[in-house]
Symmetry: C2
């Protein structure tokens, strides 16, 4: 049996639903979140022993429908996941705008959308909420938790927080963000807030700060890609629409180079599918990821891990430099956990996990043999 | 005789003035600039032969007063320049806001400030205007032209455009911008234009788009620094003012990490000394720098060079990667010009020329022996 990427991408989840945590959930920030909902999707079937569950954790702009954004993982033959064998679960993270409770949701206390009053969601909060959902499905132990970027952060947090609930953990392009990444995320939020439509975060659904979110996304794209990739793709070419960068134009709005046209396009396109408050919320979740926080030491945190952990660094990733991922693997290993480091040689920067998924699958494949 | 850095910095130019080009100057863009003025500063004295002139070309936010921003070059002993021997000239570039004609100047055709209608200024336009000023001083040949960043671009353009007018040319951290640099500059301009006070570039002097310019500057700073520098300085430290990044804050305005506080501070500070339209103008000058443009080939352009050229790359510069500078040196050399490449090993990124000037002087010093 083979399945093309297009078939996989078009595949609807076998189950899709919303899971309500019917309580007031305490958060790492000291605040609470009342009765949050998580939207989730299931592909394939849980077996009788319920030991074939794979949790795929999505990145910033992803969602629960794993097969739509990471179809290559399901390719047959040669993919990582096999829906005749595995039950794949995707959960939209808290703070997002793809079905789970986020800034666009109604605050039960006020009856109005949270907007900018939505609390800071730590990756640990996201994972604690996921654990409740996984438990509700009767799953005692995940066969695998896998994810990249903030998805990889969730995987690491799973391995530390719930040591006996994960057999294998694969975290790609993830580590606590360094100063450069923190700076880039900060400026993305600042760009959103520059937009006159930002309105302190109380913008209306039909009058969103699209200009600011577009610049934020474009800067995000810059942080996800690499110098050599941009050079190979865009170099110093004028924008492919035929603009001329060498003539005057009021305020530089025209006369763009190709890279500028590309970044503007990516920003505009993002507005169709994302919300500014959610963007701010999730980038802060990324910023504050630190699996050691509130543990006595790195050793105390990482020695908890029982899963077999694989960390993947990407050679040209400058948002999560491979050195950072490699040294995190060494620290986890030094704490006594089984942790291996693999490096993906790619020109694509942080985005390699989406841009070269076949390469990633090949790199990971021996893990499952 | 020795001079401390403080003494050099406080040193007023021996002459400071404005040079008017009393004609309508044609520009590379096809447009014109009527009767532009260049503000310039002279340190030391021209000798009788007028062969001791050194032109120091400033970077984006610099100005004609070289001794204030690059004092280490004048240090005695050990500096590069000696005011008992050299006559050092600084010229504020067209498009800037430090005395030369720029977007804040009055358009003689309308009697109002140019604002966003100020034409695109190519580095070649800047250098042609500088040549007129240098000629007016009776200087036939510059002993040395030196500069970094867009200053280094000017130096290269001098060597190509006026081959018999420059004996030595030292260009630091400069090459035609790659796609990543073009993208970063573009987003800086987009950030300025997001600011509601931008007003299409027709903002009033007392109501400038400070928010947008601050974000632009902060993004510029990111492009001038390096991952290892930020990591060494800021890591994941909370902002030194005592903010806590791990608690909720409406729209992330508070609870910053140290790097975010630093970037915000740098942005705010920049508003005291720069103008948004000038920033847009000069970044476009950077973008459009290409000394080969309108020549038949790289060979045709670079084989014109008669100066002894030194290009300096900075090891951690990702705005002007050292590979780009090195390969430019190879291309210039292959065209038959005397061109050597030196690399400055520094953690400081592009900014190393300002952050480690003593190091730079040591690297260059043998040139003048």
């Amino acid at each position: 049996m083979t399945a093309t990427i297009e078939q996989v991408q078009a595949r609807r989840p076998d189950f899709e639903g919303d899971f309500l945590i019917d309580e007031v959930v305490p958060l790492e920030s000291g605040e609470v979140l009342a009765r949050p909902t998580q939207h989730y999707a299931i592909y394939g079937k849980l077996n009788a022993a319920r030991d074939n569950a794979v949790l795929v954790c999505h990145a910033l702009s992803g969602n629960a429908e794993v097969a739509t954004w990471w179809p290559q993982l399901f390719k047959k033959p040669g993919g990582l996941l096999d829906l005749d064998r595995d039950c794949v679960i995707g959960i939209n993270i808290l703070g997002s705008c793809y079905g789970s409770t986020g800034p666009g949701s109604v605050d039960p206390e006020t009856g109005r959308p949270y907007g900018p009053t939505f609390p800071l969601i730590n990756v640990r909060d996201i994972v604690r909420a996921q654990e409740k959902l996984i438990s509700s499905l009767g799953i005692r132990k995940l066969k695998l938790a896998i994810g990249a970027s903030i998805g990889g952060m969730q995987v690491l947090e799973w391995a530390v927080l719930f040591p006996d609930r994960v057999a294998r953990a694969v975290s790609i392009g993830a580590a606590p963000l360094g100063a450069m990444g923190l700076g880039l995320n900060h400026l993305q939020r600042q760009a959103i807030m520059l937009d006159p439509k930002w309105a302190g975060g109380y913008y209306l659904p039909d009058d969103e700060p699209h200009g600011g979110l577009a610049v934020a996304r474009a800067l995000g794209i810059i942080s996800y890609k690499s110098v050599p990739l941009f050079e190979a793709r865009f170099a110093r070419n004028p924008n492919r629409t035929g603009e001329n960068p060498f003539i005057s134009a009021v305020a530089g709005q025209n006369g763009r180079f190709d890279i500028a046209g590309y970044l503007d396009y990516q920003g505009r396109k993002f507005n169709e599918r994302f919300d500014a408050n959610a963007y701010i919320c999730i980038t802060r979740s990324m910023d504050t990821f630190d699996p050691v926080r509130a543990h006595a030491s790195p050793y105390a945190a990482y020695s908890r891990i029982q899963a077999h952990v694989t960390l993947v660094g990407i050679s040209t990733d400058w948002l999560f430099p491979p050195e950072d991922v490699r040294s995190l693997a060494a620290i986890i290993g030094a704490a006594g956990a089984r942790c291996e480091y693999r490096e993906m040689a790619s020109i694509h920067g942080h985005d390699a996990f989406l841009a070269e998924p076949d390469h990633l699958v090949r790199l990971l494949h021996p893990i499952f043999e």
